[in-house]
């Protein structure tokens, strides 16, 4: 299995969750491989029982609920993993690494 390829799918799924501004993990939470690297997603464990760690930057909102956001990211990432390769990923740990405030919409 190409882990970098899988990681790309998972990063995309996490980024699509409303409230997630960015999927980024510095050097620590990054999947490395010959096909490149994916920041914000790291896969660990043997291929058949992978565990994914996903690191996200959240956008501030008055009704911010980071536990709910974490669950939504976990759900989206787990679904993407199951669609890509059924039963490969056995759990998704979410790190809310940063919080940004966007007074003006970013261009």
């Amino acid at each position: 299995m190409d882990r970098v390829d899988l990681a790309r799918h998972l990063a995309k799924a996490a980024a699509s969750v409303p409230g997630v501004i960015e999927v980024t993990g510095g050097a620590e939470v990054t999947e490395y491989g010959p096909a490149g690297r994916v920041s914000g997603v790291a896969l660990s464990g043997p291929d058949e029982t992978l565990r994914a760690t996903v690191s996200v930057t959240a956008g501030y909102a008055a009704d911010l609920d980071l536990q709910r956001l974490g669950n939504q990211v976990r759900g989206a990432v787990q679904s993407a993993a199951d669609a890509h390769q059924p039963e490969s990923v056995q759990g998704v740990d979410v790190v809310v690494a940063d919080l940004v405030f966007e007074e003006e919409p970013r261009q």
């Binding site: 994914a52 501030y60 911010l64 980071l66 787990q78 759990g91 740990d93 790190v95 809310v96 405030f101």
Partner: protein, 144 residues
């Protein structure tokens, strides 16, 4: 970075929101600090936040160097698996009742951090490091 990772499996005594069978959610110190800083600034009478350790100098430098936003500066946070302890330094406007203002800040931080992160706030320690007089600002402007 505080982390709740690695605590999976049957040993847990209850299913807290931080832990699910499907994985954990970790909220870093800097995120909690920003939420707490924002909650403190919301309270009328708080002039500014300053690190109680350094009088604000270090956090100001850190903010400038990193280019990061300063919402979390002046706030020190320790995050455990389900709990957070918060130290905060602030300057307040001259005419306020400091104990009552501090209590309002404490309650607002507890409310915001708990609702936004799901963490239980065990303590909020507040240092009032200076008073702000409106004349100060005017005098500073005249000098400029």
């Amino acid at each position: 970075m505080a982390t709740a990772q690695g605590q999976r499996g049957g040993g847990e005594r209850e299913s807290a929101p931080l832990h699910t069978e499907q994985g954990t959610t970790t909220i870093t110190n800097s995120v909690v600090a920003k939420i707490a800083g924002l909650a403190a600034r919301e309270v009328d009478g708080v002039q500014n936040l300053k690190s109680p350790d350094t009088g604000g100098a270090m956090s100001d430098i850190a903010t400038r160097v990193t280019g990061g936003d300063e919402r979390g500066s002046g706030v020190k946070v320790e995050v455990g698996e389900r709990e957070a302890a918060i130290d905060l330094g602030m300057t307040v406007q001259y005419e306020v009742n400091i104990p009552r203002l501090a209590e309002a800040v404490r309650q607002n931080i507890i409310k915001r951090v708990q609702s936004m992160t799901g963490l239980t706030v065990t303590e909020v320690n507040i240092t009032v490091s200076d008073l702000f007089f409106p004349e100060d600002e005017q005098a500073a402007r005249r000098v400029e």
